[in-house]
Symmetry: C2
Subunit: 450 residues, 2 copies
């Protein structure tokens, strides 16, 4: 794939140049990269090289680069900047980007930045900042071009040419509003340039794009963009007044982050985790997750400890017990993954949840029986003990059935309690499957084998 | 959040209506939804209700809905359609969408569809189909509007109005090409309408958008869209001839799928897994993963079996051994998740990989020592045995250090071998941490405790 290897080469070449310490050459290469590409390179560099490179980045693009890197890398870069650098970095940034950045800064610097802005711009920034992070209002850019429904396309075209540079370069759509600034519909530039200039906006405009309330959750906004293939969408207040617009590039980031959150969350990591964070902070963050897991592992050990006397008599139990626990964990994790995705896509409603639980119960039961028989045969031949074979089979069916039910029930309950199932789900689930697995297998053995 | 609950209500209300069997009402509600929203509802329905609803969907939007649902749900829906329905569904679809759909159909139907197309359209479809799935060429739409660099904006505007309906409604950018159809640059509609009409295209066009080679991997395309905040991008052949364009709505799907692939892959599930698939096919798919995991669990049991005599003498070993294995598994999974994400984002190069491995080794060693001390204290007091405490501490350090190294080494090696680390990584890793954990702990006990 030539394009891919070209890109790889570009980034790898830059890294090699930095490793060599050829800083003038690196600076020249940097100027040919977009802010997003510079962000990518910075994220891919270990601390020392990252610091070196950050000093080489043209200060005019500092702000745009800061917006594109992940939160943790951004904090790292911000720490290297002084007041004046921060102030100049925030010049000429778009409102939504600036809002994103300002929140990460100490209050004293934020105040200075706000003071340095002209009145109108500051008011617009404060409007965006008044909405919580992860809402449409916080994602929006207030820089929109609006037109009235009663004018002709010719008038719109003349108006845009008059605006000139002030038309945001990523504009694909104009918003049609009435005198009270209430949102009425969209006029795409494609429609504007392909229709007769004597037509009236109201006749050409589209009514299909639903306005997004400013307090809508950003993941819900992302779903609306996905379901309707939007490039941009209007954001309105409670009364339908146009506040700004959201563009799809911000939505792409929301979707990427949502995916990484689910993936990294299972390992107890944040989606913002910096791959090249220094050793000590990394160790500290990981330690928390290991501590939580030690607690659950101790619970499992405690259950095993209850049956020490049984294991003492039949050592084969100690050999086989991890199989029961691990198969339950795997079956449950599959159901868990499916349910967490369903919740994330907002596809679980009261009426279909019951169907899902019953289906997962059926799937768990079928696989429980199938693999119980396989494991029973192996265990029976291995230890030449048919009673042991029956016991492990029963324990496995119990654990896989409970695992399937918990795999749906647990994330649904966590979600209702406001706890993120992508983070807590897998720890809790394997705790359950370990404890149930050990308890069922060793308990049954105590009852029937001794 | 009113907007969210509004949407929820819309979908939940529709589900309730279907549950009640009020099909005329459901049909009316469906007409108010976009194809993407219909797809969402279909994905959220159990088999019977899904079949019912699919019959209610207006046949004119069938094609667009089919493009929006996940592969597995699409197969389910296609199975319900006959030849004539399929033929009419594919009418008036965009080339990239049709290419996507045609591949899922039996060859006989594909042939009929191709035969029903006019010559020019068929040739363009075949061009798209000639590129492998998951490449830029397969994602592209050949329906582009091109202009010459030497004409004035006024000429461009007149040309677009002449094209009228033929301008694709999602056009945000025109592509500038020379006489040989080689890509030269982009003319955004925003630039077109905000500059003076007497200007020449060459003066206004932008050179910043790099063309994408048709054989570029779709994940790489997604990264270029993300890094450069693109709405659309030109696709070219080896010699720079313009072949078509990729729009960001397809990129959003690629990013969503990539995230789901990583998340679902860890549980051995496909990102296309249908949450409401029937029980038997679901069970069969899950069984494969359970079988693979049974094999690895048996390996771990076999290792424990080697030390039966030791456990027979010191039962406490059976109680404590899961702690060693599980802590190694957790530490390794964290490193694994970080490395898999780094690979997916194309952020790992030869020069920074070494740094990553050393950092993870350091993090693993620090946490290994810290938690080894904690576990040693607990084990020592629990069983009143200081020798046992020292042994478990040493075993834990060994396992966490090896887990950290394997957490980076394993996905990198799998990736180089062309095996998807998101799928195979976590199984292989926990196999290693189980075996190393049991072997280290029980082996050391055999050497020093007996």
């Amino acid at each position: 794939m030539p394009e891919q290897s070209f890109t790889d080469n570009k980034f790898e070449r830059l890294q090699a140049i930095i490793d060599d310490g050829a800083m003038q050459k690196a600076r020249r290469m940097l100027t040919a990269l977009s802010p997003g590409e510079v962000a990518h390179v910075l994220e891919s560099l270990p601390p020392t090289e990252r610091t070196l490179l950050w000093e080489l980045v043209d200060h005019e693009t500092d702000g745009e680069v800061l917006v594109q890197v992940t939160d943790e890398v951004r904090d790292d870069l911000l720490r290297q900047m002084d007041y004046s650098e921060l102030l100049s970095a925030t010049e000429a940034m778009e409102i939504d980007d600036l809002a994103d950045l300002v929140q990460e800064l100490p209050y004293t610097i934020t105040r200075e930045i706000l003071a340095s802005l002209d009145n109108q711009y500051r008011q617009r920034l404060e409007a965006v900042l008044s909405y919580p992070e992860d809402t449409a209002g916080h994602l929006m850019d207030t820089d929109t071009v609006t037109v009235r429904p009663e004018v002709t396309l010719d008038v719109v075209l003349r108006y845009l040419r008059q605006l000139g540079d002030k038309v945001p370069p990523d504009t694909d759509t104009l918003f049609v509003v009435n005198r009270e600034d209430r949102y009425l519909g969209t006029l795409s530039l494609a429609a504007l340039v392909s229709n007769d200039t004597s037509e009236i906006v109201a006749e050409v405009m589209s009514l299909t794009v639903q306005p997004i309330a400013a307090i809508t959750d950003d993941k819900e906004v992302a779903r609306q963009f996905e379901q309707n293939d939007l490039l941009s969408a209007p954001v309105v207040d409670d009364e339908g007044h146009l506040l700004g617009r959201i563009t799809v590039d911000d939505i792409v980031d929301v979707i990427r982050e949502e995916g990484e959150h689910q993936f990294m969350g299972q390992a107890g990591l944040s989606e913002d985790e910096d791959m090249f964070a220094p050793v000590l902070p990394s160790s500290r963050r990981r330690a928390v997750w290991l501590g939580i897991n030690l607690f659950t592992a101790l619970l499992a050990s405690w259950v095993i400890g209850l049956f020490e006397a049984t294991i003492d008599k039949v050592v084969a139990l100690a050999v086989l017990m991890p199989i029961v626990a691990s198969m339950g964990g795997i079956a449950g994790s599959q159901t868990l993954a499916l349910t967490i995705r369903g919740l994330a896509l907002d596809q679980l409603t009261s009426s279909n949840t019951r169907w899902l639980i019953l289906k997962e119960l059926a799937v768990g039961s079928i696989n429980g029986v199938v693999w119980a028989l396989v494991v029973a045969m192996i265990a029976g031949f291995w230890f030449n003990n048919s009673q042991l074979a029956i016991l492990i089979a029963v324990a496995m069916v119990i654990n896989l059935v409970i695992a399937s039910v918990m795999g749906t029930f647990l994330p649904l309950t966590l979600n209702r309690m406001g706890i993120d199932p992508a983070l807590a789900g897998s720890v809790l689930l394997t705790t359950v499957t370990d404890i149930v697995g050990f308890f069922a297998f060793l308990g049954l053995a105590t009852l029937f084998l001794l």
